[in-house]
């Protein structure tokens, strides 16, 4: 098991058949974005239609998990039992993704070092044998 940052009691992700393939990739520790096979536009969250060319066909592009902190909030109220406070909710602009951002957390961080634009990297948290959640930490050079 990987390092744990959040308790089991965190709200679980929910998926429908449109978003399910995205959630199957983390089980293999792969972070992906959806890519339109007609115009190559990349997007998250997954959607049945490309918002740029309205094409219906798409595939999944794996990304490195490196990126930069786009914005964040340091949250001081728990959402789940046993949670360490404060925790950091963040938006990360993903490198080599065609400009896609993702909501996630910054973990393993001294909150005083948080700064918009700071480089971050992906870290997988295995919540259970079936569920891995992508989180991010400051890039360790």
């Amino acid at each position: 098991m990987s390092e744990r940052f959040f308790p089991d009691s965190m709200p679980p992700p929910m998926a429908d058949t449109t978003t399910l393939p995205w959630w199957q990739a983390p089980a293999e520790h792969r972070l992906v974005v959806q890519r339109c096979t007609s115009c190559q536009h990349t997007r998250l969250p997954p959607a049945p239609v490309c918002p740029e060319c309205r094409g219906a066909d798409a595939d999944w592009q794996e990304v490195s998990g490196r990126g930069e902190l786009y914005t964040y909030s340091i949250v001081h109220r728990p959402i789940a039992a046993g949670q360490e406070l404060p925790y950091v909710v963040a938006v990360i602009a993903l490198e080599d993704s065609g400009g896609v951002r993702i909501l996630s957390n910054i973990v393993d961080v001294d909150v005083a070092e948080l700064e918009v634009g700071m480089p971050v990297e992906l870290v997988w948290e295995d919540m259970s044998p079936e569920l891995a959640i992508p989180r991010f930490r400051p890039l360790r050079a």
């Binding site: 089991d8 709200p11 992700p13 429908d16 909030s73 909710v89 918009v116 919540m127």
Partner: protein, 407 residues
């Protein structure tokens, strides 16, 4: 073809309290009481009402409210499909469309909200002290597009509005140097307005900038006093034709223009959508809507005498000031520092009732009520000879706005 615009003929509300303090009365009973008071304020009878309008997440469905109030016929019932408070002004606009197109003659817009009886928005309805489910966490089935979308926020603990709207505000601070003190000035100004308003939940609780800065951090940069109240109460607004409104009890207020909607790709806004266009991210998402509102009304920001701006969080007000063109993009902080929003001496007296930060959080329909009062000269923080009032409903989610006018 030009058409006589609908007017607001009456407004009313119940007592407003802190969440859980309204007592054993039901939410729908409060809705009925607010509707009855608004109809009485207009000088109409309940038998005159033939339409009801509300907005997203309303538990008090019009068909039941119509039956409880004994309406002779329900000809129009409408619900705006937008998250939370974003649909308040849109519900007024839909009521006006119904009246202007002959679907109904008297439509009442209502909102009743008892956070003490259902769940507090502040904690997203979750009890963090509840024991954990012993089964290992797994991916769950989402049975709606909303839940599938929330699936990209929930596992990160992003469920509280205070945290969600902190994200664009933090980005605004990064881009433009906006400060917590500037947000605090805004909160202090609205609290001062509430001090004269006997309806305001926080009317007797003065606040200084030092109090704001000392209030606990909830979701940085949001301190407690950057967050709206969690309230119990209801209010209502009566919409009817210009012709009908002319001869009623109170001075009618004209709905000069209305707009609703969201920019491309916005979905639920920053709450679940990390991929709002970069140019829109650190805004209230209302700039396009504002441009259409000014365009169709022939008015501009300089024509507004008083504003009631949806204030779920201080940063969202600041970004709306920029969206609506009261100051340039990025200059919301310095604009607030000039004292612009103050009832006395401000260039744009705003939230003269105290807003959701200090009067009550009734999903912003109380801002429409105050907009009407401010043009009738009935506000407890009156603006002399006010003729045009802007009312907005939410920001950083799909939103709506109306311009109200007094002839």
């Amino acid at each position: 073809m030009s058409r006589a615009r609908a007017h607001i003929a009456g407004v009313g509300e119940t007592q407003y309290t802190r969440w859980g303090k309204i007592g054993p009365v039901t939410e729908h009973a409060l809705a009925c009481q607010a509707i009855q008071r608004a109809v009485a304020d207009a000088g109409l009878e309940m038998d005159d009402v033939d339409g009801l309008a509300s907005f997203a997440e309303d538990r008090n469905e019009a068909i039941f409210i119509a039956a409880e109030l004994g309406l002779p016929a329900l000809r129009f019932a409408n619900m705006v499909w937008m998250p939370g408070g974003g649909g308040g002004c849109a519900a007024v606009a839909n009521a006006a469309m119904a009246v202007e197109t002959g679907q109904a003659q008297v439509v009442v817009v209502y909102r009743s909200l008892c956070q003490g009886q259902f769940f507090r928005f502040g904690n997203a309805g979750r009890d963090a002290s509840a024991p954990a489910d012993p089964t290992p966490p797994t991916l769950q089935q989402a049975n709606s597009i909303f839940l599938a979308s929330m699936g990209f926020a929930m596992p990160y603990g992003l469920l509280m509005a205070a945290a969600a709207y902190a994200l664009p505000t933090r980005r605004h601070m990064h881009l433009y140097g906006t400060t917590s003190e500037q947000l605090g000035r805004l909160a202090v100004t609205f609290r001062e307005h509430a001090s004269r308003n006997p309806r305001a939940v926080m009317g007797g609780r003065p606040m200084t900038l030092e109090d704001h800065q000392a209030s606990p951090m909830i979701a940085d940069p949001h301190r407690l006093f950057d967050c709206c109240l969690e309230s119990d109460g209801a209010c209502a607004v009566v919409v009817t034709s210009a012709e009908r409104a002319r001869d009623l009890a109170k001075q009618p207020v004209e709905i000069l223009a209305s707009e609703q909607g969201a920019p491309k790709g916005y979905a639920f806004g920053p709450f679940t959508n990390a991929n709002i266009a970069d140019a829109l991210y650190a805004t209230g998402g209302c700039e396009e809507l504002a441009g259409r509102l000014w365009g169709k009304s022939g008015l501009g920001p300089g024509d507004v005498d008083v504003a009631q701006i949806y204030d779920h969080f201080t940063g969202c007000v600041l970004m709306q000031l920029e969206d609506y063109g009261f100051c340039k993009r990025g200059e919301g902080g310095p604009f607030i520092e000039t004292g612009a929003l103050a009832w006395k001496g401000g260039s744009l007296p705003t939230n003269t009732h105290g807003g959701s930060l200090s009067e009550a959080y009734i999903h912003g329909l109380n801002h429409v009520v105050e907009g009407v009062r401010s043009l009738r000269g009935e506000s407890t923080s009156p603006v002399d000879d006010a003729q045009v009032c802007l009312v907005t409903s939410a920001a950083c989610v799909p939103s709506s706005a109306i311009l109200l006018g007094r002839r």
